[in-house]
Amino acid sequence: MHLNKLKVYFLLFRFSFSISAFTFGGGYVVIPMMRKYFVDDLKMISEQELLDMAAIAQSTPGAIAVNIAVLVGYRISGLKGAIVTCIGTIAPPIIILSIISFFYQSFRDNNIISSILKGMEAGVAATIVDLLIDMWQGVLKEKNLLLTLMAPFAFLANFIFNVNVLYIIIFCSVLCLAQTLIKNKLGGVESE
C-alpha cells in the first residue's frame, strides 16, 4: 500500500516533469499532453474531468500550466499529489532558466535554437487545434444554445477586441447563473 502510493507519486512527478519540459509557447499546450498521458494512457482521470480542471485553472490567478498540473495531482492523490505535480511542473523552468541566466545572450542569438523553435510553432498550433475540435464537439453535445454561443463569443472578445480574460470569465459566469435561475423559475411555474 505504502509502496503503491510512492509509485503513484513517482508517476505524477515523472509525467508532470516531462510535460513541463516540452511545453513551449504557453499554458494551453499542456492540456493535449495531459490528455495523452493522464486520460488516454494511465486512465487516471476522465476527459470530462480534465476539461473541468482546465476551465478552473484558466479562471484562477497564476500560470495555467501550473494550475492544471496542481489540480490533476490533487484529483489523483490529494494535497501531496498536488505538491508533487507542482514541483514536477516548476522544476524544468527553474533548472533551464538558471542555466540560461549565465549565458543568455548567446542563447538568444543562437540560430539553431531559433530554427527549431520556429518549426515547433506549427506543431504547437496543431496540437491545440486538435484539442479544440474535441472540446467543441463536447460543448455541442450539451445542446444548450447559450453554451454553444459562448465559445465564439469569448474568442471574438479576446482575440479581436482584446477584452481582459477576467471580464470575459465573470460575464460568462453571470450569464450561466442567470440562465439556470430563469430556467428553474419557469420550471417551477410550469409544475405548479
Binding site: S18, F22, T23, F24, G27, P32, K36, D52, M53, A55, I56, Q58, T60, P61, G62, A63, A65, V66, N67, L71, C86, P93, I94, I96, L97, S98, I100, S101, Q105, F107, S115, I116, K118, G119, M120, E121, A122, G123, V124, A125, A126, T127, I128, D130, M135, W136, G138, V139, L146, M150, A151, A154, A157, F159, N164, V165, I169, C172, C176, L177
Partner: protein, 186 residues
C-alpha cells in the same frame, strides 16, 4: 540577504495573484513590477526574457521569476520567487475545484462550470490563433502588410493535425518532429 529573499517572495506572490488568464496580457504588469518599480531587470533584459520564455518550456511568470530570482539572490532566490509566483494559483485553484465538486448537484453552479468550459474554448482558440498567425505569417497582428506566407509551416500544421486526428500521435512526438523540420528548413 534574508530581506531580499522576502521582498522577492512577496513581489512575485503579488505578480502571481494578478496574472489571471496568462499569456501576453500579463507582460505589461510584470514589467511594471520587475523593471519600473524595483529595477531588478533593465527593459532590454526584460524583453530578452520574453523572447527566451518563448524559446524555453514553462510559463512566462515562472520563467521571469526564476530568472530574476537567480540574478538577485542565486538559486535560493530563483526557488523563492518561483514558489511565490505560483502559490496563489495553487491555493485558489484547489479551493475552486473543491467548491465545484462539493456543489456539483446544484444546477446553477454546475452550469457556471459548463460556461467556464465553453468560454475557455474561445480563450484557448484565441491563444491558438496568435500562434497560428505567428507560424503561418510571421506576425501576431492581423495587418496584411506585415504578413509573409510560410508554406512549410502550413504544411507541417496540416500534416501534424492529420496525424493527431487520425492516429492520435503523442503531442511530444509532434513537437520533436516539427522542431526537426524547423532545423532543416529555416
Amino acid at each position: 540577504m534574508n530581506n531580499i529573499i522576502l521582498t522577492l517572495f512577496i513581489n512575485f506572490l503579488k505578480i502571481g495573484l494578478f496574472s489571471i488568464g496568462g499569456g501576453y496580457a500579463i507582460i505589461p504588469f510584470i514589467q511594471e513590477e520587475v523593471v519600473n518599480s524595483h529595477n531588478w531587470l533593465s527593459l532590454q533584459e526584460y524583453t530578452d526574457i520574453i523572447t527566451i520564455s518563448q524559446m524555453t518550456p514553462g510559463p512566462l511568470v515562472v520563467n521571469t521569476a526564476s530568472f530574476v530570482g537567480i540574478r538577485i539572490a542565486g538559486i535560493l532566490g530563483a526557488i523563492t520567487a518561483t514558489v511565490g509566483s505560483i502559490l496563489s494559483g495553487f491555493i485558489i485553484s484547489i479551493a475552486l475545484y473543491n467548491f465545484f465538486k462539493k456543489h456539483k448537484d446544484i444546477d446553477s453552479i454546475s452550469n457556471i462550470l459548463k460556461g467556464l468550459r465553453s468560454s475557455s474554448i474561445g480563450l484557448i482558440g484565441s491563444a491558438a490563433s496568435t500562434i497560428i498567425l505567428l507560424a503561418f505569417f510571421g506576425t501576431p497582428s492581423l495587418d496584411i502588410k506585415e504578413m509573409s506566407v510560410n508554406i512549410t509551416a502550413i504544411l507541417v500544421f496540416i500534416l501534424a493535425l492529420f496525424l493527431l486526428r487520425k492516429y492520435k500521435l503523442n503531442p511530444i512526438l509532434i513537437m520533436i518532429l516539427s522542431g526537426i523540420v524547423g532545423l532543416f528548413f529555416y
